[in-house]
């Protein structure tokens, strides 16, 4: 036992001394802070002041209608713009439009265009909206501007023109546009998750949290699982293993390695979680500094922590054991790459279950995903975050994952025992099978 402990200590201390670990540990929180800051800043600065010129060639003065719909000062236009289908995403600040109206009348179109384009060039204007006389009959509207790639702003302009044109068409048909607007007024719609326990907070924040849980397990399993593989390969390639194997058994070495590297992974995730917890409790302050607010936090049951920890560790053990066996079979980095491909595919299957699980945490895919031991470590913590899992299902999954992890560890130790000393050419599947039987 003390020998295994020596291996655990070595793997752990050597791992946390690597540059990759230090950088990953620091960059994780930096990434989180950056993400929050970016959202706040984007919300603040994404919106701007736009001044556009509307050249109106219609007799009916559609241009002033459009102007009324775009200009913020005339609040009456807001409801109608909404009715026309512009997105009501209230929490993203919207650009403010200043409009100067140029009825075309008898003026020379090209001369006006040259004059306006010069002003666009001089940055006095952001763009020019051309409303042709036959717009109601289907003639095309043209926008020329420096912001012509800003989809959100173009959509606002397009929406305003559409509402104005539709109003004109309705009027022409003898229908009061105001009454139609009233009839088409959007309903108030709110989404709240229910499912066993009272849900609180915004659904978006809960989805984010759930997604993060799945991703963290995935990332740690991939990164640290591959670290195990590389470690095994290094010991084998650099002929270190013979000295170690003369002192302790192969299975002790394997367990020590997996535990040591896993502990480093757990430490990193703990630092991330501690940082996230700190950031979330102080998040309002941080966000406030940038002049924004955070969405309301979801309340999650304390048991989620236990579920997460178990499946995180079990998942790591399961995959790290497979990775170590792959490292023992491979004789070069290239072979290791090939061999780990199917293992990574298993993880990709689990990742591809994330969206279906989010959409229906009690659906067939979610339930099947938590029974399959190779996907359960990612699926289960996600489900636990968004829904109440029946105790039978949870217990069943725990048992299946535990037994599989132990079984894989046992088989891997056998492959490892012989594989770590085998050099030269890569063994065939039949040979590996013989190792498992005879070791």
């Amino acid at each position: 036992m003390s020998r295994t402990w020596a291996v655990v200590k070595r793997e752990f201390t050597e791992m946390i001394r690597t540059k990759a670990f230090v950088i990953g540990t620091v960059l994780g929180p930096a990434f989180m802070v950056g993400l929050i800051a970016l959202q706040v800043l984007m919300a603040k600065t994404g919106a701007g002041e736009r001044t556009i010129a509307i050249v109106d060639a219609t007799e009916a003065g559609l241009g002033s209608r459009v102007s009324a719909l775009l200009a913020p000062a005339r609040a009456s236009g807001e409801g109608e713009a909404g009715a026309a289908g512009s997105r009501g995403d209230g929490d993203v600040a919207r650009s403010r439009f200043e409009v100067e109206l140029h009825p075309l009348g008898d003026r020379d179109r090209e001369a006006l265009r040259a004059e306006l384009l010069a002003r666009v060039e001089a940055k006095e204007l952001d763009g020019i909206l051309w409303i042709p006389s036959g717009v109601a009959a289907g003639e095309g509207v043209l926008y020329e501007g420096r912001n012509a790639t800003n989809i959100a702003e173009l959509e606002r302009v397009r929406g305003a023109v559409q509402v104005a044109v539709q109003g004109a068409r309705l009027s022409a048909a003898g229908i009061d546009p105001a009454r139609v607007g009233e009839a088409l007024r959007p309903i108030a719609f709110d989404a709240r998750k229910v499912g066993g326990r009272a849900a609180s907070g915004t659904p978006m924040a809960l989805v984010m949290l759930t997604y993060m849980l799945g991703l963290v397990v995935y990332m740690v399993v991939i990164l640290y699982g591959q670290a195990v593989l590389r470690g095994v390969l290094e010991e084998k390639r650099d002929r270190i293993v013979e000295v170690v194997a003369s002192s302790i058994r192969a299975d002790q070495l394997l367990v020590g390695k997996v535990v040591g590297i896993g502990a480093a992974g757990l430490l990193q995730v703990s630092i991330w979680i501690a940082f996230a917890a700190f950031a979330l409790t102080r998040g309002e302050l941080i966000a406030a500094r940038f002049g924004g607010t955070l969405p309301e936090l979801p309340a999650v049951p304390a048991s989620l922590g236990g579920v997460f920890l178990f499946f995180f560790l079990a998942g790591f053990f399961l995959y790290a054991s497979i990775f170590s066996a792959m490292g023992a079979i491979a004789t070069s980095d290239q072979e290791a790459q090939q061999l780990q491909f199917p293992v990574i595919m298993l993880l990709v299957v689990a990742i591809s279950m994330m969206m279906p699980v989010l959409n229906d945490p009690s659906g067939t895919i979610a339930v099947v995903g938590s029974i399959i031991p190779f996907t359960a470590p990612i699926v289960m913590p996600m489900r636990a975050a968004i829904t109440e899992i029946p105790l039978v299902e949870l217990a069943g999954s725990v048992v299946i994952v535990t037994l599989t992890a132990l079984g894989v560890l046992w088989v891997s130790a056998k492959i490892y025992r012989i594989g770590i000393l085998a050099t030269g050419k890569r063994p065939s599947a039949a040979e590996v099978w013989r190792w498992i039987r005879t070791a």
């Binding site: 003390s2 020998r3 020596a6 291996v7 200590k9 070595r10 201390t13 050597e14 290094e234 010991e235 650099d238 002929r239 270190i240 293993v241 013979e242 000295v243 170690v244 194997a245 003369s246 002192s247 302790i248 058994r249 000393l421």
Partner: protein
């Protein structure tokens, strides 16, 4: 030699192998090896590549399980405690290249059950002795090959093992470091530790060891105390040096009726005589044949001669070639 303890004292043998067998697929690595290493012996395990030396050692160290046979270390079956009393320098050297020297040695000691607090002063002393005191905080990969090998040697003896297994310990070392290592090995021997040398350099083993076991193709050719091996082998051997060696002189020597075989190394020749002949007869015949001698001495057979007599010209020649390649 006078201060050496009696190797085959009353104590249990350090290593006892009975009927040890091991196959790898179609290849028989070892077919029924019996071997006894007495306490305090400096024991040479000799043989050409592929003779089964490393396989034997790996089974001793529980790295491989034997297919059949019994292994006893210090008088009982292999246990973790028994393994802790063994130090091992494998032929395939290798260390964690990115680790720092002191940390690596601490780890290797811990694997043998020596806690860091005990190993720290020993590590300092060993590094001092091998002239590496200033490299304790260097990474292994920053050291030269020879120095890495010294570190590995320290790792093998740091826990003060009773049995030290050295697989080709001198290969890859320059002459100065070979000498340093030889002195340390002599020291270990004086301290009463048992040393198992695993090598294909038969002449070197002949000088260093008091016991040998020669393996060929997974089988034991001969074993025991060297003096006894020679005595048991019997026969009459004469070492002679010709004034000037020529192929013609060599052919004339070979043609003499009492000569059974020749082993030549430059102008040094070891002649084995046919049963019933004696050295005086040979001396007369050599002089009569008109060959000029610089040296003529009746000797005990060399280990190589014994190997040649037992295994045959062909195997001995290929082994000799192997050693010459290794020397280059």
């Amino acid at each position: 030699m006078t201060s050496m303890r009696t190797p085959s004292g009353s104590a249990e043998p350090v290593i006892e192998l009975r009927g040890l067998r091991k196959r790898f697929g179609a290849v028989t690595a070892l077919s029924g090896l019996d071997l006894t290493v007495p306490r305090g012996a400096t024991y040479g395990l000799l043989g050409p590549n592929g003779a089964g030396k490393t396989t034997t050692i790996r089974m001793l160290l529980r790295i491989f399980e034997p297919d059949a046979g019994e292994i006893r270390l210090f008088g009982s079956p292999i246990t973790q405690a028994a393994l802790d009393r063994i130090g091992y320098l494998p032929e395939e050297r290798g260390l964690y290249r990115r680790m720092r020297v002191a940390r690596l040695l601490t780890f290797l000691a811990e694997l043998k059950g020596v806690p860091p607090r005990e190993s720290a002063p020993r590590i300092r002393a060993w590094l001092e002795r091998l002239g590496l005191a200033d490299r304790a905080e260097a990474r292994l990969q920053e050291l030269s090959k020879g120095n890495q090998q010294k570190i590995q040697f320290i790792g093998a003896v740091l826990h003060e093992p009773e049995l030290v297994i050295l697989d080709e310990p001198f290969s890859g070392l320059d002459v100065i470091n070979q000498q340093v290592l030889k002195e340390i090995v002599l020291d270990l021997k004086r301290q009463g530790r048992t040393i198992l040398f695993c090598t294909h350099m038969i002449e070197q083993a002949e000088k260093t060891c008091d016991h040998v076991c020669i393996l060929a193709r997974g089988e034991k050719v001969v074993d025991g105390r060297i003096s006894e091996v020679r005595r048991r082998h019997g026969g009459t051997y004469v070492a002679l040096r010709l004034d000037r060696w020529t192929p013609e002189a060599s052919a004339r020597l070979k043609a003499l009726p009492m000569v059974a075989g020749l082993r030549e190394e430059g102008s040094d020749v070891e002649v084995s005589l046919r049963p019933g002949s004696d050295a005086q007869e040979l001396l007369r015949a050599v002089v009569a044949a008109g060959l000029h001698l610089k040296r003529f001495e009746e000797v005990e057979p060399s280990l190589e001669q014994i190997f040649l007599d037992r295994v045959g010209e062909e195997a001995a020649a290929s082994w000799r070639q192997e050693r010459e390649v290794a020397h280059v």
